[in-house]
């Protein structure tokens, strides 16, 4: 159920709706930019699922259905802000400029990282649920000590909302008034467990108990996500402290390529959400309000197709690394056990890449 507490600026049919606190004044180019972002990340995600099915990736965590939540939040970030994702935030990584091939390295299992997190100001995927929320708050405490006008955004899900680290991060953010925005993508399912198992109240209500504002947003409405995220970030940068944004959305696909959602949820539910698609509503708005023609949409689709082909080519070219890379960067300074391991591997000519 989508409740009336939800901030929504664009209906699933692409009609604008007014909201007492938020309004979107974005023009054609910005909205078309969001549309392009969402089409591209969905297409790249589909390509990644195919690559996994074809044995080219160890795993993939699809984002279908959550494009608006991620693009809206990600595009609200200023260049100097820093973001701490979970493992499904390919859309946010895209907004930070992380090359898609680098996002896939960890899923190709050629690295445990993938990109330079300081270069893109976007941290590495986090698989242990909720750990990154504490890193985000700590980083925000660093911003305070530097006297910088920057903010931090961190992403987690309805499942991770039960993790102690997430709740501790709420305490810390409130106690230190840290410039951090928590983006909770409530996609209704934590693998097979429904949100009702994680909480008995709307998740955004939790923020009030910790002493900071919580907002529930239509996570499939990129305009609402952008406006709410932008205001929360501005507020954080101005010293107003943390905000919890619950992006109410849906995971259209499987949890990961190892999952089989038909075992725990019904098609009818998925169909309801298919009609709330985050991309179609923006397309309808662009066509009707800004007279964007089919040729433009076709150009976006063609660009996405080209990027998907490029991604496939890049992934297929990623070979197993030299096994001695496992000894690199374990420590900042030399450690005898690591060096002994490296020597042994080289002396015995141990290989093991596949």
């Amino acid at each position: 159920m989508i409740s009336d507490e939800l901030v929504q600026l664009l209906t699933p049919e692409g009609e604008r709706v007014s909201h007492p606190e938020y309004r979107s004044e974005l023009g054609r180019d910005e909205i078309l930019g969001f549309y392009r972002d969402m089409v591209i990340v969905r297409r790249l995600c589909n390509e990644s699922t195919s690559l996994q099915r074809q044995g080219q990736l160890a795993l993939w965590a699809p984002l279908q259905g959550q494009e608006a939540a991620q693009i809206g939040a990600g595009r609200a970030l200023a260049p100097m802000d820093f973001s701490f994702p979970s493992y499904r935030e390919h859309g946010v990584a895209w907004t930070r400029g992380v090359p898609p091939r680098d996002m896939l390295r960890i899923f190709r299992a050629t690295t445990t990282g993938g990109w330079d997190p300081q270069q893109y100001r976007h941290s590495l995927p986090m698989v242990v649920l909720g750990d990154q929320t504490l890193h985000a708050v700590g980083y925000a405490m660093g911003i305070q000590r530097d006297g910088a006008e920057e903010a931090v955004m961190t992403f987690f899900g309805d499942g991770a909302s039960s993790q102690g680290d997430v709740l501790e991060s709420f305490v810390w953010a409130a106690s230190f008034n840290a410039p951090v925005v928590f983006v909770l993508q409530n996609n209704q399912w934590a693998i097979s467990e429904p949100t009702s198992l994680q909480t008995k109240i709307p998740l955004y209500h939790r923020a009030h108990g910790f002493g900071f504002p919580g907002v529930r947003v239509d996570g499939n409405d990129v305009l609402a996500m952008y406006e709410v995220a932008k205001r929360a970030l501005d507020n954080a940068r101005a010293g107003g402290g943390p905000t919890l944004i619950e992006a109410y959305t849906y995971r259209m696909g499987a949890h990961t390529t190892s999952d089989d959602p038909t075992r725990y949820r019904v098609d009818a539910e998925v169909e309801v959400w298919r009609h709330r698609d985050p991309i179609e509503r923006v397309k309808a708005l662009l066509a009707r309000e800004f007279g964007v023609h089919k040729v433009t949409f076709d150009e976006v689709a063609a660009e996405a197709e080209q990027l998907a082909l490029q991604l496939r080519e890049d992934v297929l070219a990623m070979d197993a690394p030299d096994p001695t890379m496992m000894f690199d960067h374990v420590y900042a300074e030399s450690h005898p056990l690591v060096e002994a391991g490296r020597r042994e591997m080289i002396e015995l000519g141990i290989s093991g890449g596949h």
Partner: protein, 328 residues
């Protein structure tokens, strides 16, 4: 040379003060470390002098203390974390082994995890439960971490500064039963490298390796042994990851006998590692099996009976008798 006599607690306090004076990016965070100065007073007066932004009284959640220190490290800060007691470190275990230990690797060296996690550890102070444990092996087992132990005021003063300056994450173990013993501190020059083992007492018959509280026990055993005509060489391991095996092996090649004394239980312990590594390296020098003197494989007992749990001079001597007996 400027020498000053002080307790280990004071030496840590002075070492932290000097580290904070040298680098404004050094922060302290922990429970009750501000106005109170920590339950052991290690940070006494530091918040008054360096302010609340640098000496941070933390809400009571160990995982968050370590997790936010990771975020501060990503931002370029070096946080010295105080875990109030050894037995309270486990809520932070995930952040330590999954994040602190791995993020330098995962980021290909971009993230410097130069944080120090201070851990008042070991028993012998008559405390209630969860206040006397020896969890060092958990951290030694984890690649990406380093683990050091101070056992004298001079080491405490210098090793805490060396740890703060080091770019890898360091679990800094402090033997709380030694906090109040005085010793000479050289305020000018560090005595050793951070990861060096040190021969505290030279000897010829048995190499005894110990760390933290057990160094003193081993030295007392050496006095007793000397009266019986047995010469113990006592090595203070100081660093448990990495282990300074060169110093230990050099000694064992001379003595032919190894006894490791530790307050931790024996199974898969640092003592096990030292015995295994020395056996692999010094097999033909050994005249007796490497032997561990440990606590027992039981939870830390009520402290009224802790002296029966922690290795005593008598139990060390029993092990010395055993390793000396193989020649007969």
């Amino acid at each position: 040379m400027t020498q000053q006599s002080m307790t280990m607690a004071k030496a840590l306090n002075e070492g932290l003060r000097r580290a904070m004076e040298k680098d404004r990016k050094v922060l302290l965070m922990g429970e009750d470390i501000g106005k109170l100065g920590g339950v052991f007073r290690i940070t006494d007066g530091l918040q008054k002098d360096f302010g609340e932004d640098r000496v941070i009284d933390a809400p009571l959640a160990e995982s968050a203390i370590v997790g936010t220190s990771v975020g501060l490290a990503i931002r370029g800060y070096r946080t010295v974390v105080e875990i109030q007691f050894d037995g309270f470190v486990y809520p932070a275990f995930d952040q330590i082994v999954s994040q602190v230990a791995k993020l330098h690797k995962r980021s290909a060296g971009v993230y410097t995890m130069g944080l120090v996690i201070r851990l008042p550890f070991q028993g012998g102070i008559g405390a209630i439960e969860h206040h006397s444990e020896s969890p060092e092996a958990y951290f030694v087992h984890t690649a990406g971490l380093r683990v050091v132990v101070c056992s004298t005021p001079n080491d405490a003063y210098w090793m805490i500064q060396q740890s703060v300056e080091h770019d890898d994450p360091i679990i800094f173990c402090e033997p709380k039963s030694r906090y109040w013993e005085k010793g000479e501190v050289d305020l000018d020059n560090p005595p050793y490298g951070l990861f060096d083992a040190v021969v505290r007492r030279p000897g010829t018959d048995v190499t005894v390796v110990a760390w933290g509280s057990m160094v003193k026990t081993a030295l007392r055993a050496a006095d007793v042994a000397a009266e019986e005509g047995v010469s113990l060489e006592v090595i203070d391991a100081r660093s448990l990851s990495p282990l300074d095996l060169d110093t230990i092996a050099t000694s064992v090649e001379k003595t032919g006998r190894l006894v490791v004394v530790q307050e931790a239980p024996p199974t898969a312990s640092v003592g096990s590692e030292i015995v295994a590594a020395v056996t692999e390296r010094c097999f033909y020098s050994l005249r007796a099996p490497g032997t561990r003197v440990s606590a027992y494989h039981v939870p830390y007992p009520p402290s009224r009976i802790e002296d029966a749990y922690r290795p005593s001079v008598d139990r060390v001597m029993d092990a010395i008798d055993r390793v000396m007996g193989y020649d007969q």
